[in-house]
């Protein structure tokens, strides 16, 4: 199987699915999974495989299929993604990982870079939705008491103050006690959007870029055991990927099942670029 995929990389994309983004007049900047606009949009099945290129790899493919719907309004393009998940996982404690989905687009026009997160000089632009980030957006970043309600720490030195000389530390000095924050790691701050925008030039090189536009919202249906996530992005993202009506482009997907300990390179992926046609007048 590995040989076939490698050949596909060499000889160009074997297109396993064909996603068509239909033009609509509805404003898509704030669309949600349950909106009526999605009702008549066909679902395109996209097959995923267990990530097979770098270690660690998942032993089992937990997400063989993701269904994709796409629409655009001339300014925004929205994708509605549906996949099966036995349970919902929003991470939090040690050893818990979040359900997540990502869409990847080439940054440069022409033939796309290697599907495995691009290459040096030929980057990819990724929209990474996490259930954990959505929880941040909705409820704020969890405090230790939210994660461990029965925990009873004696005293945090950065919060200590008394009525006399010890006045407590300002926000900047308190950050020293959280190395991730003090180093400016986006991971350690509250997420104000459920979607991280990322640029990568190969495996392990991803870095978060400032995200002020793209949005995402997911709903888990415990009866159907299904996640439905909508990610909307502007068609044109300066310094990122640019999509145009009338264009035949490419995209790719990845899904992480948090409850199955999937995180990082333990994920299901599209082994090849998927065709993306943006219908409508140019």
């Amino acid at each position: 199987m590995r040989i076939i995929f490698s050949l596909a990389l060499v000889f160009g994309s074997v297109l396993l699915a064909d996603i068509k983004a239909v033009k609509t007049t509805t404003d898509l900047s704030k669309t949600l999974p349950a909106d009526s606009v999605w009702k008549d949009i066909p679902k395109e099945p996209v097959n995923l495989v267990a990530q097979y290129m770098v270690n660690p790899k998942p032993k089992v493919n937990h997400t063989p299929l993701i269904e994709v719907q796409a629409i655009h309004d001339g300014q925004w393009i929205a994708f509605r993604l549906t996949w099966k998940a036995d349970s919902k996982s929003e991470a939090g404690k040690t050893g818990q990982f979040s359900d997540a989905v990502a869409m990847q687009f080439p940054v440069k026009e022409g033939s796309p870079p290697p599907i495995f997160m691009g290459m040096k000089g030929n980057p990819v632009h990724i929209f990474h939705w996490r259930a954990q980030y959505q929880k941040d957006e909705e409820k704020g970043k969890p405090e230790m008491k939210d994660l461990y309600p029965n925990m009873n720490p004696d005293m945090y030195p950065m919060e200590f103050k008394d009525s006399g000389h010890v006045k407590g530390l300002n926000a900047e000095k308190r950050e020293v006690y959280s190395p991730g924050k003090a180093s400016g790691n986006p991971q350690s701050y509250q997420k104000n959007s459920a979607v991280d925008e990322i640029v990568a030039e190969g495996f392990g090189s991803s870095s978060v870029i400032e995200n002020k536009m793209s949005r995402g919202h997911g709903v888990y249906d415990p009866k159907q055991k299904t996640w439905t996530v909508v990610i909307s992005r502007p068609l044109v993202r300066p310094n990122g990927s640019v999509l145009k009506p009338g264009q035949n482009g490419f995209m790719a997907f990845a899904v992480w099942q948090g409850a199955k300990q999937e995180v990082g390179s333990r994920k299901a992926i599209t082994p090849n670029w998927v065709s993306l046609q943006i219908l409508g007048p140019t």
Partner: protein, 376 residues
């Protein structure tokens, strides 16, 4: 996979990256015969580095009672069980597999992920003896019932499993001192390092959502000072210095002397294949099979050597230098009953008499016509 030289094993082994030894290598030697399990090192580290949110159960330095104690719970037995039975014959290279060599094709190492609760009981098994001491038992050597304290920091391994397993390459080994660090600005908290470090010295912080670990007190080390856990050791059981590989060993380097010259101090669980850089002088009265499993087949020679120290003023001198200075000793000497420690430039930073002067006074003081006794 690259072939790299692992002198702990006496052979080449497989590792993800090429061999790339640092200019010098941070290292600590612990004399387990002297550790009293006071946990002052644990608290020195805790108050310096891990008093923040998400670090409540995090001990970069911990002391556990062997065999029953462990932090996180059962880390050692779990990794040995995962690795499976391996052979190591005395005076031969290790022929078994390391955690890199025994890994499944889809993984970098043989590993396990401790549960959240596993980290919450750092004092588990503390002071527990191997079994009950029944009536009529008398003292035997090695002891029939035994325990010893095992203080542990990150070993800043020559072949770190955490570094090998990080898919983001957010972990690096500093060329100037061999200290292994997790780049806090790039870590995404995947936990692969927590999973892969067999010693379980990478820890997840659920508040910052990144993994953290012992930083070898690099800000102190950069200024020529030993880490906080070493500086604050009440029992004076440990010394931090820079270890050379055996082919570059120097007799006047305190760590090289204890490890290479005398063969007194041994790496723990060397069979895992990481070439860890914390070394232990084994506790001589504990069960020998257990010690062999933990320190490898050289443990018999190390204990023999330890028993000869009573006739060896140079080694005695070095052992009294342990805990006698906060500075890093780059070399030492023992002459005329005094042990000297020197800094990198060769300037003296400490001197200690090898044997404390004592004076025995006669029982009867004729001048004051008084009888002396030891009543305080």
């Amino acid at each position: 996979m690259a072939k790299v030289k692992n002198w702990h094993l006496g052979r080449d082994m497989e590792y993800v990256y090429e061999e790339n030894r640092p200019k010098r290598q941070w290292s600590i030697v612990f004399d387990l015969n002297k550790c009293i399990g006071c946990q002052t090192c644990s608290m020195a580290c805790k108050t310096t580095w891990t008093s923040g949110k998400g670090q409540e159960s995090m001990f970069w330095n911990n002391v556990e009672t062997k065999p029953w104690g462990s932090y996180p719970l059962g880390w050692d037995v779990k990794v040995l069980e995962k690795l499976g039975h391996q052979e190591w014959k005395k005076h031969e290279p290790y022929r078994g597999k390391t955690i890199f060599e025994a890994a499944e094709p889809t993984e970098t190492t043989v590993h396990f992920f401790p549960t959240d609760e596993d980290w919450m009981y750092p004092n588990n098994g503390e002071d527990d003896c191997t079994g009950n001491v029944s009536h009529g038992t008398h003292l035997n050597l090695p002891h029939d019932q035994w325990f010893f304290y095992l203080p542990r920091t990150c070993a800043h391994c020559t072949y770190p499993a955490c570094l090998a397993a990080c898919p983001r390459k957010a972990i690096y080994k500093r060329p100037e001192d061999g200290i292994v660090l997790i780049d806090q600005s790039r870590c995404k908290g995947y936990g692969e390092c927590v999973r892969s470090c067999p010693y379980k010295k990478s820890m997840y912080n659920p508040y910052t959502r990144t993994s953290e670990k012992c930083i070898g007190c690099y800000p102190a080390v950069e200024q020529g000072y030993q880490p906080m856990c070493v500086q604050n050791c009440i029992g004076k059981i440990r010394v931090m210095g820079f270890i050379n590989p055996p082919w570059k060993a120097r007799k006047d380097n305190p760590v090289d002397y204890l490890v290479h010259q005398m063969g007194l101090a041994l790496p723990y669980y060397p069979q895992l294949g990481l070439e860890p850089n914390i070394y232990y002088i084994p506790p001589i009265h504990a069960n020998r099979e257990y010690l062999t499993q933990m320190f490898g087949p050289k443990v018999d020679d190390a204990i023999k050597q330890y028993k000869k120290i009573k006739d060896d003023p140079r080694t005695q001198g070095l052992l009294v230098l342990l805990g006698s200075t906060d500075r890093i000793m780059h070399s030492f000497d023992v002459k005329h009953g005094v042990a000297y420690g020197y800094d990198e430039k060769g300037d003296e930073i400490v001197s200690v008499p090898v044997i404390e002067h004592s004076y025995e006074r006669p029982r009867y003081d004729s001048k004051y016509e008084a009888v002396r006794n030891n009543t305080p």
